[in-house]
Subunit: 893 residues, 2 copies
């Protein structure tokens, strides 16, 4: 039984002031279709066309690549309306209508899906085009492009075959640019292209415009599930069931001569946020030429009078018209727009408008500016910045004081700085990063097939392309440092090296790139913390006005604590004590403790560790005075502190004066089959209470001394890991409490300490009511809670987790975003149960999810008191927490 | 703030027909106190005394070893009442009252706690005792025994010191038995004992009877937490907070002459269940002599006229009186009783009555007999047999047809048979068993300190002791095969060997013992399945009448399937397919599959495995026709099938013709940090669908062929392991379904197959509503569910789990009994959620908990459809399931 779609409209006309689709229904029209409809409504010049609903895409995939009943008829009807508006006719050899066929998904997926331009051309309509335009060369070039594009996108042929033929002709003519080919060349090429198709596929290139149209439409739908589109969706968490709409639109031409052009523009500067139209264009070119980055375009504006080829200088009237359209679009959408335009014989046509991607800095500046301009409210402004962008904003930048020599300079496509080893292909990038290295991906230009390498690279550098090239757009979207159009690079990928003037750069050489200035340096350049501009501070003050839950940081050292405070952390949510023991000066005492045969020997070794631990805590307390500091007692299994090969073991045996064989035996006896589920966390405290006693002593003595010395109020919170049972907690709490009381008595002072627990095992969540009776606080350890709830060891998940995400079993890696159905359900149980028996219970989260915006929203909705994340993620978390409040407010309305 | 007990009665008199305590309150009076109170009520002769409530024990431990206010006064008052009844007075040098001080916990813990007899003796009352009894030798012997016992139990001195002195005197006199010592010897020994105490402790042996009394009482309370008592409680799951009562009772003497005796009796035979008084006694002895097994006692009855020393022959009137008391007790308690008695100058005194421990066979026989005798109802009978006893009943027995030579013969103390290596100490037993060996613990006699060794041994053999000795009682309680009083054994523990007539038996030699006949054989003797007697079948038919949930077995082979059916399994709840691959003839094909570089090579290796898997299933289906067979698809991580050392890897490399280094690399690449949480279960099926496809093909082809060949109805149930997500299940179900449909079509037949899932991850339980939408059944894999819920790897838990049980954090190892608070809560969530979306959902359990009676009760209450356990546990599970119904009925009333 085949299910039928309800009788609905599948095809929506736009053009000549008539708009059938509802521009707010991006789910149906896609982003491009909605933008075209909206612009048509606003009487902005848009070539007429129609949008095929994304519901058709769903139908197409659910019904063996077929279309709903009546759909074909609808398409013909709309095509007829477009013919009427244009006064030309699809397939008419005298006066042909040519169309573009483009994808248009709900959110932008730049370059990920397929497009066919100049559709409707065949041997007969070609003649009509020549007549219409009186440009024979243009018409043949269009036909050539069309055959090439269609054969590739729809017929699945290798582009390379066509390019080789083209190169051959250029060589024959001894020219380097397509533009220098003659009409006669193009005529020959068209014939050769058609022969190539016939030769390869065993049938003629389709001459029937309708066959072309259905072929292109199917290809666009199919491209929704192309590998690169799937990768992009995975990275950007776009559901695969959304599907894409298809836009079929009358062609306008930017390549009819020097009074023609094509370009892209942002209504404000997407890198700095400056309020001025910003963009690039190419004279006498088709739109794809700009995006592909094959020719380097000229800027739109002539800011400092240094851009003689700018549109502002070359076509001032057109620039004026474009600027006005830009303002109208912004006033309408109340948002910075990213537009595509074509200038045909001096007339501006808009082909697309959408929300512009922007750097973090620009996002904040635009948001705050728009509040000053009374365009949007403060709350609206807060929703205009993606929390993850703040992460990018705060990452280190190149120290301007550091000595450095500029190797080359390109366009600053995406701000930030990165150091890494040079790789020349996305596959190399992936392989090297998997080996734990950092890489700079260097390419002639990037294409959608490079996504996987771009995603793992620390920075991206291309020899070609402009600020709106594929590399630039994608890198900005990823918040990744990127330089494009660095013409001084000469790449020889075959020999695995590139040259910059006289210098050779080989695979694996270290480069540093500065995406904010466009400069490339040899070697690693020191980085510093960026200065945050006033807009940032204004913006974050609004954030904190709205936010209701606290944001703490995970910090193990006084330095981390300081950074966290500077980023606005309101306490430490997780101070891991084990990292302190890995220090080279301490690990021996730690190892002695682990290898001790009895409690006495263990206590002796612990006595050496005590002053070290204490000094750590003194440093942290001094940084965090007044703020809570949650300190987790020793958590990892003891064998993690021992060497794992014979050489290191022999060395250790000598150092601590025990026999090698005994040491080896002892080390082996500590080995575990599943250390994640083994002898760790509070299980250590139960078996060897003296370890925890020492740690608590160090915490409390440190607290007492800082209180006495600095006369401050301190709030240490002692946290027990891997608790799974109330009585287990009670026993340890009793022990901790006793040590605390003894020390407070000894120092005759008061410290406002608390004792609580991680909730990181399902059993802790399930018995939270009992545990909460005596615990002062809970902190969700969602890393381990996710591991145990899913039964997945994060360390081992590489075998299957990618396949799970790929197959859509997990929409998103559950270690990145809280799995609300499972882990989240346990969390909500624990919260409800815990507050049932202890209404004062303070509850936070300190797993890595504490720095993930969507998880923070979940924590807010679940009633947590705070989230804790890495220091650099604190601003992000603050913003995500504020946005959660705003989104919830909206939902309540 | 010290909490006060409510004003309550702490001391309860019994004697002379007066009874203060409520005999149903075993929680307060303890088992012994309740029995004494009840017997006193029934006018059965019981020496008067009083019971100190177990609440005092709790107080004692909670208040730094002190007693509640007013308690001392209460004790003195009751003591006065006892003096009045007896007409003798505590501490009176003319007419002294002597008392025993004994423990009495809620359930019997034989020999685990301390006892002091003859208390009240000192240098002065000794003279009074002589006057009273006119037996100077007896009196001095009693004083000697008292000093020795008190010094050991209360003053903490080593018994050995006293025994050495005694041996010294026997040597001097050239006698071997205590009884041959003269009064003058005993007088000297008493003086030497007192000097020994003074010398060792620096103070006199206490002469004040009241000091003695309080000392003994404290010692009994303290013995509640002696290491052996704690071990016993752990083994028997007795809560440590119960505490013990203390019974203080006027002494009667079985050692006043040859008209005196002491003994123990069962109202029916505890080994066979025969309805006849059964027991042993010693003439002229104190009670401890029988239990300790130092002298071998005579039987009570003279069944075949072969026991001239039996009580029946020696003291026929006394035997008559004892038999009548036995009948009265049984008629009153409607239960087989285990009694202790003393005969003082021809008069019978009862010192204890309690429910008698019995073998499984006896338990069933007594229960069914009592129904025939109209003493109890069928339902009552079902509650009279411990499910775990059935396990014992079904275990293999020695093949009577097998050739064997009897090495020695002892008393058949606890039925069953065992083969193992000889060890001579409980510590050896524990160490050897930990190394994976099976041992027979051989001892001169056992004492409570041996418990840990007895617990791990496969069988127990002692040279001394009778049917009611410590070894015999404990072994019966444990359901463990045991022979006692095997006098032919001559043990020389120093040289680490024993001799039996002329044969030497050394540490590590293999013996087989038959606890049903008392025979000891050299070497391993073949075992067979025991024949079950008609009482068993009657009993099990009642079980099945009452039981409402199904019982299935976990069986991987046709043989296991047959055994399971014979024990009454109603299907297979878990057929693991991986064991089939470990077979030597198959593992190479399996390894080839694992090492395959691509799907094609994998499919090639799988094709070899297909016919093997298919033949396994054909065998199982033929055994189980008509019953459901749940087959779990491949579960363990693939590296489990690969060799783990270089030698074996090299061999394999040669065999399957790949390079060693490649094999090693591949094997290493499969290594995991936490394999429990790694690439296993259905994750294999998602990554390599061809593996599961082959397995499903094998199952369905086997089913089709058996259906066509035997014209039976088959019910294969295909089960997916480690499911954690509904979509994961859906994807795999779709794949399984497709294979099934293809095969059914190919065979043109019908098989009623089902597709379901294990619920063994918290996330599966938490999202059970979604999973249940498409699953036909759930089966709780509580082993893994316990591991993930607790975050405990069972393999690694040895580091800390014993400590957790010891500290009382886990009352019982959660891998033995379902943790209701955590794991059980998840199970109940899964059941409720699952049935919400699929009211037909069949739910079972196949973890090891499926064979644990308490867990089965929980499963019944939670609404499971079936439990599945190992074949030998099936009868146990049937009984536990029936008892769950009965207990629940009782609760509802």
């Amino acid at each position: 039984m085949i299910s039928q779609l309800p009788l609905a409209q599948f095809v929506f006309l736009f053009g000549d002031g008539k708009v059938e689709g509802d521009p707010t229904r991006r789910d149906i029209l896609g982003g491009k279709g909605a933008g075209l409809a909206e612009m048509t409504k606003l009487s902005i010049p848009v070539p007429p066309g129609f949008t095929i609903s994304s519901e058709v895409c769903a139908y197409f995939y659910n019904h063996q690549y077929t279309y709903p009943t009546g759909f074909e008829k609808e398409v013909f009807k709309k095509l007829g309306q477009v013919e009427e508006i244009m006064g030309s006719f699809f397939g008419d050899p005298k006066n042909p209508l040519l169309v573009s066929v483009r994808s248009g998904s709900r959110v932008s997926m730049p370059g990920m899906m397929d497009t066919v331009l100049n559709l409707g051309l065949n041997d007969h309509t070609l003649q009509g085009l020549i007549q219409q335009t009186q440009k024979e060369r243009f018409a043949y070039d269009s036909y050539r492009r069309f055959i090439q594009m269609y054969s590739n996108v729809v017929l699945g042929m290798d582009l390379h075959l066509f390019e080789t033929l083209l190169e051959h002709h250029k060589k024959k003519r001894a020219v380097t640019e397509d533009i220098d080919l003659q009409v006669s060349d193009l005529k020959e090429i068209v014939e050769e292209y058609k022969a190539l198709v016939k030769n390869q596929l065993g049938k003629e290139f389709p001459q029937d415009p309708y066959e072309q149209l259905w072929g292109a439409m199917g290809a666009v739908f199919l491209s929704w599930n192309s590998p690169r589109a799937i990768t992009y969706r995975k990275i950007h968490h776009i559901p695969s069931e959304w599907g894409t709409a298809v836009n079929i639109q009358a062609m306008v031409f930017g390549n009819l001569g020097n009074d023609c052009a094509t370009g892209v523009a942002f209504t404000r500067n997407p890198s700095t946020g400056e309020k001025r139209i910003f963009g690039e264009y190419l004279i006498n070119a088709q739109g794809e030429d700009v995006v592909a980055g094959i020719r380097t375009p000229a800027p739109l504006t002539d800011d400092d009078g240094v851009a003689p080829h700018s549109l502002e200088r070359m076509m001032p009237h057109v620039f004026q018209e474009l600027s006005e359209i830009s303002k109208r679009l912004e006033d309408h959408f109340l948002e910075m727009q990213d537009i595509e335009f074509t200038i045909q014989k001096g007339k501006v046509w808009l082909l697309q408008t959408r929300r512009g991607k922007r750097s973090a800095q620009a996002a904040i500046r635009i948001a705050t500016d728009m509040v000053s301009e009374n365009l949007i409210s403060k709350k609206e402004a807060l929703l205009r910045v993606e929390p993850v962008q703040l992460d990018q904003l705060l990452h280190p930048m190149i120290d301007p004081e550091a000595p450095k020599e500029v190797l080359a300079k390109g366009l600053p496509a995406s701000p930030g700085a990165a150091t890494g080893q040079v790789v020349f292909s996305p596959d190399e990038a992936e392989a090297w990063v998997n080996q734990g290295r950092k890489v700079i991906l260097v390419r002639m230009e990037t294409s959608p097939e490079d996504i996987h390498g771009m995603n793992v690279a620390s920075g991206i550098l291309t020899a070609r392309g402009g600020m709106t090239s594929h590399a630039a757009i994608v890198a900005r979207g990823m918040g990744k440092c990127c330089i494009v159009g660095c013409h001084e690079l000469h790449m020889d990928t075959k020999s695995g090296q590139m040259t910059v003037r006289d210098q050779k750069i080989q695979l694996g050489d270290v480069l540093t790139i500065n995406g904010t200035t466009g400069e490339v340096y040899k070697g690693a350049i020191p980085m510093i913390q960026p200065k945050l501009d006033p807009a940032y501070h204004t913006f974050m003050s609004w954030v904190d006005e709205v936010r209701t839950i606290h944001v703490r940081a995970n910090a193990d050292t006084p330095h981390d604590a300081r950074v966290a405070r500077e980023f606005g952390a309101e306490g430490i949510g997780l101070c891991r004590t084990e990292h302190m023991f890995f220090d080279l000066t301490r690990i021996d005492a730690m190892r002695e403790m682990i290898l001790a045969d009895n409690e006495k020997a263990r206590r002796k070794a612990l006595a050496q560790l005590l002053p070290m631990q204490k000094s750590d805590f003194i440093g942290i307390f001094k940084e965090m005075k007044g703020y809570a500091v949650t300190i987790r007692l020793l958590d990892p299994p003891l064998h993690e502190f021992l060497p794992h090969n014979n050489k290191d073991l022999a060395e250790l045996a000598k150092k601590i004066d025990i026999s090698f064989s005994k040491l080896k035996r002892k080390a082996k006896s500590l080995d575990e089959f599943n250390p994640m589920l083994g002898f760790r966390g509070c299980r250590l405290g139960i078996a060897y209470p003296e370890i925890y006693e020492m740690q608590v002593q160090a915490i409390m003595e440190a607290a007492c001394e800082v209180v006495q010395e600095e006369k401050v109020h301190l709030r240490p919170e002692i946290m027990l890991p891997i608790i799974g049972d109330a009585y287990e907690f009670d026993l340890l709490k009793e022990m901790v409490e006793k040590v605390c009381q003894d020390i407070l008595e000894k120092y005759k002072t008061h410290v406002d300490y608390k004792i609580g627990t991680m909730i990181e095992l399902p059993r802790a969540a399930l018995t939270a009511d009992e545990i909460a009776k005596r615990a002062d606080f809970f902190s969700f350890g969602t890393n381990d809670l996710t591991q145990t709830t899913f039964g997945i060891s994060r360390d081992d998940s590489a075998f299957f987790l990618p396949k799970y995400v790929e197959k859509g079993i997990y929409e998103i890696d559950p270690f990145v975003r809280i799995d609300q159905k499972g882990v989240g359900r346990l969390m909500q149980m624990a919260i409800a149960l815990g507050r049932q028996t202890n209404s004062d219970l303070k509850i936070g989260i300190c797993g890595e999810h504490g720095g993930d915006p969507s998880s923070i929203e979940f924590c807010y909705q679940s009633g947590l008191n705070y989230v804790s994340c890495s220091p650099y993620r604190v601003p992000l978390a603050r913003l995500a927490a504020a946005q959660a409040v705003l989104k919830h407010e909206t939902q309540q309305k």
